[in-house]
């Protein structure tokens, strides 16, 4: 027994020596300096489509930077799969922060794993730039200065929507509907805030229980209120139900607009005529509209990745560009300490516009565009018959 333990101990010591030799070799072999950046995302599991494509884009940006010769060191990515699971994410975060060469990390598509891992980065004083998790509370004064986010929060989507429907289209008589859940009430507050900022009091507002299926009473209220525009800050279940019941009740001469949670193909199941004219904001940019975006698509496709570009893939690319920009500002010897301020004070123009961070580390660049249902399909608003004036939302 004792002998066995002794030999085991010996084996472990040998292993340790071996590891030391190998890692020493590794450092000797690499000519020049290495700077490491962590990446976290759901590379496998249910959200793998988003996570793996984001990893590809992130790696693409770093590879391009290394190839450009602008950096006097080699940048390496430690890529960690969080499997959309909180405890996996936390151990991945620990793996990243324990590497002394890591100067910054970017991570998370899921808000839960992000929230669970944030303490690890704060403790280790390693800056984390969130590229795809959108729960509002992730960026906060408490998490300053370590945590920043380049993706807009779910609430921030309301800003470009409001500027379109309130400022450009000029609707004044609003009825605001949402569900009582956290997503719904967050949107409810955000849009009500936009209305208040413009001195508009909504004609009416209702919050319905989550999973509600019968909204007929709300529809009757909207009908009799004389509202000219309806805002729905909820997901597709309630959003599509409200649109259909408005249509059935003959309330068709109003604008129906809402938030990205409704922009799924499921919305069309209420039927093309009932769905027609729903105006919904969604985050991101239409990539092939600008030169930078078209180049990104071409580069991504040239790499031959098996995962197609998803909604948040450009965000991951953009996050890498922001970190690279911050690295450039840190001179020849970037450290986690210098990176914290470099990220916060950065101003990066990438494929989605110009990103700067506000006082809680949240991006001020809310890239979003509007979609409308026309003849049974979601199309960008700017290409639609509604934008050209061939069709009208009503309520005018």
């Amino acid at each position: 027994m004792a002998r066995k333990r002794k030999s085991l101990l010996l084996f472990l010591v040998l292993l340790l020596v071996l590891v030391m030799i190998v890692s020493a070799c590794d450092q000797n072999a690499t000519k020049g300096k290495v700077v490491k950046i962590g990446f976290l995302g759901p590379i496998t599991g249910g959200d793998a489509a988003e996570g793996a494509a984001a990893r590809n884009a992130f790696q693409l940006a770093i590879d391009q930077a290394n190839a450009s010769g602008k950096y006097p060191y080699t940048i390496k990515v430690i890529s960690v799969d969080d499997q959309s699971t909180e405890n996996v994410a936390v151990s991945g975060a620990q793996q990243i922060v324990s590497d002394p060469l890591v100067v910054a990390a970017s991570g998370f598509w899921n808000s839960g794993p992000a929230a669970a891992s944030i303490p690890v980065f704060k403790e280790a004083e390693i800056p984390l730039l969130i590229w795809g998790a959108i729960r509002e509370s992730l960026t906060s004064p408490d998490n300053m200065p370590w945590i920043t986010r380049s993706a807009p929060t779910d609430k921030q989507e309301n800003i470009p929507l409001a500027s379109m429907v309130l400022d450009e289209m000029g609707y004044k008589d609003w009825f605001v509907v949402s569900d009582v859940g956290s997503y719904g009430s967050g949107n409810f507050e955000a849009f009500s805030g936009e209305l208040a900022a413009r001195g508009i009091t909504p004609i009416g507002s209702e919050q319905v229980p989550e999973g509600a299926t019968d909204l007929s009473a709300v529809v009757q209220k909207i009908k009799s209120s004389g509202a000219k525009a309806v805002y729905c800050g909820s997901t597709v279940g309630i959003g599509s139900q409200l649109k259909r019941q408005l249509f059935d009740a003959g309330v068709t001469d109003v604008l129906f607009c809402g938030i990205s949670g409704m922009k799924t193909e499921d919305f069309l199941k209420i039927g093309n005529t009932a769905a027609e004219g729903a105006l919904v904001v969604s985050p991101g940019v239409i990539l092939d509209e600008a030169e930078a975006g078209r180049k990104f698509i071409a580069d991504y496709q040239a790499e031959g990745f098996s995962e197609p570009i998803g909604a948040y893939t450009p965000y991951a690319y953009e996050a890498a560009l922001i970190l690279l920009n911050a690295l450039s500002a840190c001179g020849n010897n970037p450290t986690a300490e210098t990176m914290v301020n470099a990220i916060l004070n950065s101003k990066t123009t990438g494929i989605m516009g110009t990103t700067t961070f506000n006082e809680i580390g949240q991006t001020t660049n809310v890239a979003a565009y509007l979609n409308v249902i026309e003849d049974g399909a979601w199309i960008p608003y700017q290409n639609s018959a509604y934008a050209s004036g061939a069709r009208s939302f009503g309520g005018k």
Partner: protein, 320 residues
Amino acid sequence: MEMFAGLLVSALLLGCTYTLIAVGFSLFFGVMDVVVFCCGDIAIFGAFSIMGAYVVLMSAGLFNTLPFIVCVALLLLIGALFCATLGLVAYRFSIKPFSHSSELMPLLSTIALGTVIKEVLGLMFMPAVNASASAFGGEAALKVVSGRNPQGFPELLFPNGGVNLRYVTIICVTVLLLLLLFIFLNKTKMGLSMQAVSQNKELSMMTGINVSRTIVVTFIIGGVMLAIGGFLVGSYQKIMSFDNGAMYGAKGFSAAVVGGLRNTWGAVIGGMLLAFVEVFVAGYVANGAAYAGVVAFVVVVIFIIFKPEGIIGEKTVEKV
């Protein structure tokens, strides 16, 4: 005034859907003395089986060869068949094995069965429908989406007749169905024995009623009622989710309690009362939509406290 009329119609329609599910509860409670908690899920299962059968019939080309009304009748028949089978399964596997143990056991086991039904729909609905549709060489346009996504219920009630005709049909079908049930319960021997078993099971046995057969028939009839209930829910709601059953189950059960669990006609009044409270609170109270459901359940609690025998239930205590 226009709003009042609109709310009235909404309440009537919602009441119709609650009523049919509540009637299922009261029929089952009558013969078995247990609350079969998966009634809502059975109804949603019926709606989903109609949706699935619709896709299959479509891809088999039946809608092009047979008259539309025949196809709808066929779909209803399929839905009824599925629900009747499910009713029997519920009885055979989650109620009968516990008929000699505490009343809580069948209650729990039917809740469990409801969860099973829900999850089966969520997991298997689309794959099963896609597979059987493609067996007919059905159209590839069918998208493989998860059964957990919202599903669109096909337009089966006067597809070109507009929404008002559809609403009128929903109300008419409900009334007709209740009328048929009334005739069945009071004018046929089987209906009378269902009432007898509900009122006094032991005496029914002594009278020579085949009690177990009566129970089986009740579960079949209840299943058919729930299938048509699910059909009407689908036709009214247009968008169905696999997990709608729990909500309809809760509403149907509440309506049955308000009406007096054993009383089929009480269930009708209970369903209507619940729907009217919900719709009118949501309609006339500012920001009421969030609280309408709560107010409706408060009504239920008030009934349980002050009139546990239900709205038209009578207190009959037989002393011996």
